[in-house]
């Protein structure tokens, strides 16, 4: 059952086509029922935007149930057309036409998993990546902490104190003229909505690939090691050769311009002093 369905739609929240901004991309979401518009507006509240849309996402509900096959995420890209799938939803579109068709099955009207994949795909097209990572802004620059589930991303976000947390689960990295920028996203992890309270960004200070430990230690990673550690954490299916090649190029560029570390850490606030002393 869709969240938001059956609830009244306050006029201020039920605009015809809500716009959601992630990492500079503004998605105008059309085709939603009033209750789903409210749900989208509430779920992505800090990221609701009034800026001109970059991409129109046309949502069509297909309350169809298919059985008999194991679903797996999919991303393909041919001649400017792309297809993304995250069961039970699909997105297809043409980037030149700046229009995406979103077919959703039972569940949220704007399937967050698929929406996240769409953001990852657009970022990859722009030379960036959507990374399974948390990020904390320290003195105006973002430390990004990546690793598989259980490696400590949310733990570190919860150690942030008064520092700005961009997210505890999903961070967008976009290349700029001089350096990369880390962007907040609405795709939070076990820390919940508190970890995605503001649509903020900061220049990237460095990347840390996490290991939990009893004491702090670190090792600087080579660019190749950085790509190898980041590749599995990029939120995009990698079974399409062109998508994988694009991603490999984006990660190589990131790794060559960004200091990256293997970081063993203990869940203590002295983490921030330790990071200050990294080279």
């Amino acid at each position: 059952m869709r969240a938001g369905r059956g609830r009244p739609a306050p006029s201020s929240l039920a605009e015809r086509a809500p716009r959601v901004e992630v990492a500079g991309f503004v998605f105008r979401v059309t085709g939603l029922a009033a209750s789903d518009r409210v749900w989208v507006t509430e779920r992505f509240a800090p990221f609701v935007s009034r800026r001109a849309p970059t991409v129109t996402v046309a949502v069509a509900a297909t309350e169809r149930y298919r059985r008999g096959r194991v679903p797996r995420p999919l991303a393909t890209w041919r001649n400017g057309h792309f297809a993304l799938a995250s069961h039970p939803s699909r997105a297809t579109g043409d980037l030149a036409g700046q229009r995406v068709r979103f077919s959703v099955g039972p569940g949220p009207a704007l399937n967050p998993d698929l929406f996240r994949m769409l953001c990852g795909f657009l970022l990859a097209q722009a030379g960036g990546v959507l990374l399974h990572a948390s990020a904390v802004v320290v003195r105006g620059r973002a430390w990004v902490f990546s690793g598989p589930s259980g490696s400590g991303k949310t733990t570190i976000a919860q150690l942030a104190g008064n520092r700005l947390v961009l997210n505890d689960e999903t961070i967008a990295l976009r290349p700029g003229r001089r350096a990369y920028t880390a962007h907040a996203t609405p795709f939070y992890g076990s820390g919940g909505p508190a970890m995605a309270r503001a649509n903020r960004r900061a220049p990237l200070r460095g990347l840390c690939f996490l290991r939990k430990a009893d004491r702090f230690s670190h090792r600087r990673l080579s660019p190749a090691e950085t790509v190898a550690r980041a590749f599995p954490e990029v939120m995009l299916p990698k079974r399409d050769a062109r998508v994988a090649a694009e991603l490999l190029g984006a990660l190589a560029a990131l790794a060559e311009r960004t200091p990256a570390y293997d970081l063993a850490f203990a869940p203590r606030a002295e983490l921030w002093e330790y990071l200050d002393e990294l080279d």
């Binding site: 080579s222 190749a224 299916p237 399409d240 050769a241 490999l248 060559e256």
Partner: protein
């Protein structure tokens, strides 16, 4: 014929068409069927580059032995094992033909 019986002068490994790139002296190879990335160290990267279908395993061993400081027997054993692993992962195919025969 299995791996141990193969004549390495007549075995020509060829990289499959998968995304890959070198960074410094290392290489990163993506297996798009599994969605996995294989990081290769400098020796592995060099062997990967040499798997062009024109060089036999013996040729590759000769090139690697000329570029890296190690006993040739060690390089041969390691190179054969490495190419076997690439073949097991379906990242290279091995063509058998006599030296000088066209592909």
């Amino acid at each position: 014929m299995n791996w141990t019986e193969m004549d390495w002068a007549e075995a020509f490994p060829l990289r499959r068409s998968v995304p890959w790139r070198t960074l410094d002296t290392e290489a990163l190879v993506v297996d798009v069927k599994s969605g996995l990335l294989y990081p290769l160290n400098s020796v592995g990267a060099r062997i990967w580059e040499l798997c062009d279908g024109a060089r036999s395993v013996d040729d590759i061993v000769g090139v690697v032995a000329g570029e890296f400081a190690a006993p040739e027997a060690t390089i041969r054993a390691d190179t054969v094992e490495f190419i076997e692993r690439l073949a097991d992962a379906k990242l290279v195919s091995i063509e058998r033909r006599r030296k000088g025969e066209s592909r």
